[in-house]
């Protein structure tokens, strides 16, 4: 990266740019009344809280976190299943780092590791395939959690594992558009606009949100991740509201196309198919997850290493479900900051670094 490029990129997070954007937002916000905007993506949540962006906005604008932190929306049953698989003889369970501390019904992968289970953090699912190749005596299971951003790389890993008999995937992927459609259809839905996830949108394309905007009349703007990107996207949402429009606009133009990344989508489709899936907070949503296709059964950990998982009894007092749909602010939960902290998380929104409760606790309490 050249110094000049770095200097120019720094403008996106400069105080001058931010204060000019904040001024424009204040001007637009006058006369709009209370505005509730939801950032769908956990990375946006962190960028917003870490930059102190809310302190620049007028009080009439409220930013809510949505169901876009992959760890947070993963239900207890899937965590429990991963923990149970990690406990099987000869199994090495690989996962991304932020899954480690997520509590299931009882325990977490981190605790399972401390008790002797072979749980390893990988940075890419391809690392898990390489591990399987190196360790023919181990059954390597990759816990595939995450949205459309990560699913193509897991699909690539499955494709690259052709011929291996000791690699499989516990598929627990989630799809963003069906969840948003379920969210806007709820009776208690009271959000005026969506900041759409930049990374997911590079894969699925901005057209994927058309039903949310057109059929449900909710303005959508796909945003990048610098504070300046997010402020500009908020301004674009307010402008749609002022004009009485509900469209999908793209602030993150450098990376997002209407049709998305066709190669990644094709790769994903060759390995996975949509399946019904349960979301924490939203419940069961038809065709909102990804399961391995029948042709990939040899890599399906659910078939290769079946485990019994009891239905979750939930966590008394934990209101992560309401937080995830924007019905409750994290500090509105009685456990927040008292019994539930990042050191002693009760719900997943406090565990993941991208969880809305953790972000509130860390930056705003």
């Amino acid at each position: 990266m050249t110094d000049e490029r770095a200097a120019l990129a720094a403008l996106l997070r400069s105080a001058d740019a931010a204060s000019a954007l904040a001024r424009a937002i204040r001007d637009l916000a006058e006369g709009l009344g209370t505005v509730r905007l939801m950032e769908v993506c956990g990375t946006h949540t962190v960028a917003i809280r870490r930059s102190g962006l809310p302190s620049l906005l007028p009080e009439s604008i409220e930013l809510l976190s949505g169901p876009g932190c992959p760890v947070c929306v993963t239900p207890d049953e899937d965590i429990d299943r991963a923990i149970a698989m990690a406990g099987l003889d000869g199994v090495c369970l690989c996962t991304f780092g932020d899954m480690l501390r997520v509590p299931g019904s009882s325990g977490s992968l981190e605790r399972a590791r401390a008790s002797g289970a072979d749980v390893r953090v990988v940075y890419s699912p391809l690392d898990a395939v390489a591990l399987a190749r190196r360790s023919p005596e181990r059954q390597v299971i990759f816990a595939g959690v995450g949205f459309e951003t990560t699913a193509p790389t897991v699909a690539a890993a499955v494709r690259s594992a052709a011929g291996l008999t000791n690699f499989s995937v516990l598929a627990a992927h989630k799809l963003v558009p069906p969840a948003l459609e379920a969210l806007v259809a709820r009776e208690d839905f009271s959000v005026h606009g969506f900041l759409m996830p930049g990374h997911v949108s590079t894969i699925i394309g901005s057209d994927a949100y058309s039903p949310v905007a057109r059929q449900h009349g909710v303005p959508c703007v796909v945003a990048g991740f610098e504070p300046g990107d997010i402020l500009l996207a908020i301004w674009m949402l307010l402008r749609q509201m002022r004009d009485g429009r509900a469209e999908v606009e793209v602030e993150y133009r450098s990376a997002v196309r209407p049709e998305g990344n066709l190669r990644a989508l094709e790769l994903m489709g060759s390995v996975y198919e949509p399946v019904d899936s349960t979301w924490r907070g939203l419940g069961a949503i038809p065709a909102s997850g990804l399961g391995l296709r029948a042709s990939q059964a040899a890599f399906d950990a659910r078939l290769r290493h079946p485990v019994e998982v009891a239905p979750s009894k939930g966590r008394p007092g934990c209101r992560c479900g309401e937080v995830l749909v924007g019905a409750l602010r994290p500090d509105g939960c009685a456990l927040f900051g008292r019994s539930c902290t990042p050191a002693t998380p009760i719900g997943p929104c406090m565990v993941s670094s991208e969880g809305s409760c953790a972000a509130y606790y860390r930056y705003s309490r």
Partner: protein, 337 residues
Amino acid sequence: MSADTQIQLAHGGGGQATSRLVRELFLTHFHNERLALLDDGARLDLSGPLAMSTDAFVVDPLFFPGGDIGKLAVCGTVNDVAMCGARPRSLAAAFVLEEGLPMADLERIVASMAAEIGRAGVELVTGDTKVVPRGHGDGVYIATTGVGEVLPGVEVSGHRARPGDRILLSGPVGDHGAAIMSVRAGIELGGDALRSDCASVAGAAVALCEAVHGVRCLRDPTRGGLAGTLCEIAGASGVGFEIDEARIPVSEPTRAACEILGLDPLALACEGRFVAVVADGDAAQAADVLGARPEVTGLAEIGRAVAEHPGRVVLRTSIGGSRLLDRAEGEPLPRIC
């Protein structure tokens, strides 16, 4: 070196193999009179109040851009002694070696330690070696203990920050943590652009304490990073800190690596930086002294202590917002997407 190409259990047995390892490797690199006596311990001829610090070093990988576990084991403890307002003098080192460790790797580590010991102007006066069976260690663990002479009239402690004090930072933060995490993640950012800052800062800290009366507190932001260090001092001193994010230097490669991995540079370890809390009236002189030191590049005054919000660190963000700066929970974990 002898014909031994790998560490064997016998090297820790106390017999001839141990003796060979000590004489041919350790004494060759760490030659000094005190160590050469090979007594059970070392007599130190030091004076005045002393400062002592100990640290165990466990790092994966053993060799990383900008350093290795040996250099880290010397710098880490030398810096901790210096952060007590002391001139580091003597070091002790204990090695836990894993059976099968290539002798060439150990020699590289020991040579790196010796070079850093020379640069820091200290002596390694006593040590120990143990060998654990293959699979029971990650190649090498090193524990070092350092002793130094507290400079006359100097009293620095994390409890001594007062409202009005200025907070100086000796250079860009997060380079060590970002370099290590990037190697582990297999991320390459243009050659060796991303390097650990691992270095001794004792010379700069000693020069500061000698020249400036109003040094209240020194601390190197290792584990927990700058965020953790500032929270510790604010909490221990019962003052609030107001920090200006735009003034905190972060190198461009580290910033880029943090964006890729979803990490916060303020929460990542440094191994060659320190924070100095200095009385308001002495801040300019402190900046002059530190700015003239070769081991200080990118010195910045990043904020001040206030009477409000005791124990809390408030960050004025680079976009002009404000938020709490809290310490991270546990080890930093790269994110999913």
